[in-house]
Subunit: 205 residues, 3 copies
């Protein structure tokens, strides 16, 4: 079992948990919650694999489906009987974002993509599952809302990883630093409300 | 003409009709209605084919496009001059769900997918077209709303088909029983308001 | 550099500008605006390439990503300091629609698709990016709203191009006339409020 695979499985589990927590805020039935958890977990990597014309990861290896379903069910049981920590959703989501962004960047580079494309692929892997989750819930995706630094955190972590790996750093150190960059930026945005400036048109029409 | 192909064409026609009926409830122009009907009809199978890396069915065989367009136009003419039966949309949609879920499961198995993946593919084939229709109409997809048993009906029918086919039942009997399972569950949900329990977080934040 | 490539690059630039203008009407941060601009610019062609099982154009040639990002940033700077002309969004969008619809039709024909499929592919190339932009903004896509002639303009231009090219007209003339058809129809819809009849059910339930 490679490190990349472990990162992907971990990322899938925490994103499934975040999907289950997000769906729990809507009036959805149990199966709807599982569908949302699964989509959040496998959506980003699925789009990445389609774009790179690789075999879709959870079809090639259904363990990813099983892990995501188990993580979603454990989350449901947990929040039903125990009081989840405040911001549990944001924390799970930030961890998933870091894990998936870097593993997506690694996969794209391994598939021969140039650097700019690998950064886009890492970002897609990190943010698309959550974006589909939000679209299915008829909300403007978190990634686009102001004051979240969501795509910003993914792009920054992916660029840091790419720079370190190109600069000759050991693969695992580069990946760890990239992930920490993404997760730390998201935590900072959540904790202190950091944000990029909002773009406002002076007179749109 | 194989039985599978007939099921697919029939499913495409009833889903196109359901898409046209759904779009008729929004303020859309005639072409917008046809676009929604087409998306509802071919959306699920398109995603299935992309995920399985098969040629997309309506590109390989444009008869599917023609059938869907004709079904949508006939539906428009019909509802303009005749009074459609109550619940016409729900009935067409339930038939399409049963036809597409089983044919999607069959196609995935024929492409060599393991059982759990085939069930997911059958469910996607059945529900994704309607989900895209709802997303384009800026609504939370029917599949996720409580009290609908929508994805539940698809998953149950697909599992029944898979169990019977694996257990040695003749292909056509297994397919028929699977389809009836899905359609009957949806009808029951519509008629008696059956539902899965709604998942509610005690204190989400 | 072929004419087709120039059309695609130009279409990408004007769609990126239209995406940036559209995002500027929402409360999004700077990076959110760039993401929306990029999605609007590359979304339609990406779906076309996935459906036709071609290499995705911006992965094969990252120049498209660079052009779109530059166009989006120039648009942001421009509207911040200068007063954009009224209807700037609609005009950029109409130009992108014409350029992308015809280039998408050409690409599908070159990939061996039959005529009806090529028209659908041209229309998808033209309209899907804007539709994803609208869905991400939690709005009903422009393409489906009444009184816009949006998909109508794309389909008409694609059909005109197909007819002329099949009828023996020189490729570049056929493309030019097709593009002008699409752009002129959109301008007419914007200027005079032309529209197709709205489809209304007598008694939907």
């Amino acid at each position: 079992m490679t490190v990349l695979r472990i990162l992907q499985l971990l990322g899938g589990a925490v994103f499934a948990a975040s999907g289950a927590l997000a769906a729990g805020r809507k009036q959805m039935d149990l199966l709807g919650v599982l569908v949302i958890a699964l989509v959040t977990s496998i959506g980003g990597g699925t789009i990445r694999d389609l774009l790179l014309d690789r075999p879709v990861f959870w079809i090639a290896d259904p363990a990813f489906l099983a892990i995501s379903l188990i993580a979603a069910i454990v989350t449901l049981v947990y929040v039903r009987w125990l009081h989840p920590p405040e911001k549990a959703l944001e924390i799970a989501d930030a961890l998933g974002l870091g894990l998936f962004t870097i593993s997506g960047t690694q996969i794209a580079l391994a598939a021969g993509a140039p650097g700019i494309v690998a950064v886009v692929m890492g970002t897609i892997t990190g943010v698309a599952g959550g974006a589909i989750r939000d679209v299915l819930s008829a909300e403007i995706p978190l990634i686009l809302r102001k004051g979240e630094l969501y795509a910003t955190a993914a792009i920054a972590g992916s660029l840091v990883y790419l720079g370190l790996a190109r600069g000759g750093a050991p693969e695992s150190s580069a990946a760890a630093v990239g992930m920490i960059t993404t997760i730390a930026l998201r935590f900072a945005a959540i904790a202190w409300g950091l944000s990029l400036p909002v773009f406002r048109l002076r007179d749109p029409r």
